[in-house]
Amino acid sequence: MGSVGPLEKQLRRYWPLLSLAAILFVIVLVVDATGDVLLQRTVADGLIKLIIVVGIYVFMGNSGVLSFGSIVYMMVGAYAAAWMTLLPNLKKFTLPGLPDFLINTQLDPLPALILAGLVAAVVALVVALAIMRTNPIAISIATFAVLAGGYTVYNNWERVTLGTSSIIGLPMYVNMWICFYWALIVMGIAFFYQISRFGLALRASREDPVAAQAFGINIYVQRVIAFTLSGFIVGIAGVLHGHFLGILTVAAFWVPLTFITLAMLVVGGQNSLAGAVVGVVVITAATEVFRQLEKGAEIGSLVLQFPLGIQEIILGVIMLLIMMFRPAGIMGGREIPWPFGRPKPPRAAVTESVEAVEAAKPRAGD
């Protein structure tokens, strides 16, 4: 008794991941129990954002390099999945620019999702190979230039994306629980990546590039790996987004979504997985509360109602205040700490010394 068992050791090790999963599980369970369909859709949408933010975090959090362009891989993933899952007859008429093999195949949701994620990863890999050699600021701007370029291309590539109109008829198999499962998987990927040698190498280069290089870390290679993985995760978010709404529009993958997801990451704290998750939860919850208030909330006999449009202003001000008072984000770069005492000092030793103290005390009556 007293020493740290192997189970507890494992629990401690995976605690940052398990605690986050537990928080999300409770939220999803409670929302499921309310039976409120609109609320469930809000949470599903929030979980998709969570996957995007975790994807951005994998690159941005671990490398410390700002990435503005992640949403383009979401778009690539979303459209790739649409091409693979739409009905062949529909594709023949609406998307005649697709190659024959794509027109004639229709994949099941899961293989399509994974393939589409891989397509996004390959695009991210190619981009990363090109841009990751330069300095961090140039990389940030280059990711943005790629987003802007990709957005323009998809907006005008009528024959495969329908340009500025929407693709409809995607199988709508995604609900809150499916988003939740994928959120878990993605958080797992991000967590195991960040404690792997690759993740640690990249984090070392974030803290001190010169020292990291002196230890033999190839920053270029590590950044490419992270960016590719990030592209894969964000691509999956894109697939879920498309099959959640059943409709795809290029305009959805632009600056507003880039802004809100980056804001979630930075508000939560960009240097930890917990920061990414907490940021999404806090901003989604705040947005939802304000939306309810806009509709008018009854508190006792009092009806509290916000004027329309105030919601966004308050949200912006809150984000600004968080940046002012906690510039490193709500979590400040930390994961969720183990709640049951500090690791080590060995329990036995502590008990012993307590006993020794007790023993040394003069007893009353002696």
Partner: protein, 304 residues
């Protein structure tokens, strides 16, 4: 030949507009490492200030109805006040924060200003007619050039020249250049941070006001997103021009403007719509081969 000159004037006028916008962003980026997304809002607010604040569908000119020699200073004053206000309220408490916090803060400021505009004017685009006399064409030899293009070029020459003189010749100008080169050392040498930064925001506001007047004369449409593309291009231009270099920012903006017009001309019709994709592709190439931008200042180079 006429066609060629027409293209040159198009290119130079678009390049001038981009250069003015890029300079407004580059000024703050050089000193504060702040990528100011709210610069677009400065431009938008300058344009909206022309009309009576109301949610009505049809815009009623307000300042826009004044004579130009009153209208221009009024708009400039309003935008400068807004720029200084954002500095005082939002950016000053964040001084010294890292780049991503600053960026998100500027996003947040931009988001708030966007929705203030929507709250007052609604999100619907509105038509506004300002400087109608500048829309007519001026014939010159065989050329027919819209007057606004010449005004744009003239405004760019005057402002860039004025700014260059200010930066080279005046004490404040020299302090600003020093701050852009190396802010910490400049402060050690007695440059007052608050003064220099406020000045940078004021000049940035001045540039935004001029851009907003030119832009609204060209397009005639008010919308809360009207300046988004302009700012995106300008923001990329600052970096390809060279971080911390004001000449670089202006040159980068100019170059991107010229590249856009040239591509618009030489691309086959099928690809014209995707022109911007080529422009951004070109930007990525510049960044790959010259990561520090076209003009490298000493502040950027890593000291290893």
């Amino acid at each position: 030949m006429t066609f060629f000159f027409q293209i040159v004037i198009d290119a130079v006028s678009l390049g001038s507009l981009y250069a003015l916008t890029a300079l407004g962003i580059g000024l703050l980026f050089g000193i504060l490492r702040l990528i100011n997304f709210a610069h677009g809002n400065f431009i938008t607010i300058g344009a909206y200030a022309l009309i009576v604040p109301s949610t009505a569908v049809v815009a009623t000119p307000f300042i826009g109805a004044w004579a130009w020699f009153l209208m221009i200073p009024a708009i400039i004053a309003i935008v400068i006040v807004v720029a200084l206000g954002t500095e005082r309220i939002a950016f000053r408490p964040l001084r010294g924060a890292n780049m991503s916090s600053l960026l998100i803060a500027s996003f947040a400021v931009s988001y708030v200003l966007d929705h203030v505009i929507i709250l007052i004017f609604t999100g619907r685009p509105k038509a506004v007619n300002v400087g109608a006399e500048l829309a007519r064409h001026i014939s010159f030899l065989d050329l027919r050039v819209p007057a606004i293009q010449l005004v744009t070029i003239a405004a760019a020459i005057i402002l860039l020249g004025g700014l260059a003189l200010f930066l080279k010749r005046t004490s404040y100008g020299i302090q600003m250049r020093a701050a852009a080169e190396d802010f910490d050392t400049a402060r050690l040498l007695g440059v007052r941070a608050n003064t220099v930064i406020a000045l940078a925001f004021a000049i940035s506001g001045l540039l935004a006001a001029v851009v907003s007047l030119i832009f609204i004369t060209q397009t005639g449409i008010l919308s809360f997103r009207m300046s988004l593309n302009l700012v995106i291009v300008a923001f990329i231009s600052t970096v390809i021009g060279g971080i911390g270099s004001l000449v670089g920012a202006a040159a980068g903006g100019f170059l991107v403007g010229v590249a856009s017009v040239v591509l618009q001309t030489v691309l086959p019709d099928d690809y014209k719509l995707t022109r911007d994709a080529f422009v951004f592709g070109f930007v990525v190439l510049v960044l790959i081969f010259r990561p520090d931008g076209l003009i490298v200042t000493r502040a950027v180079r890593e000291r290893v």
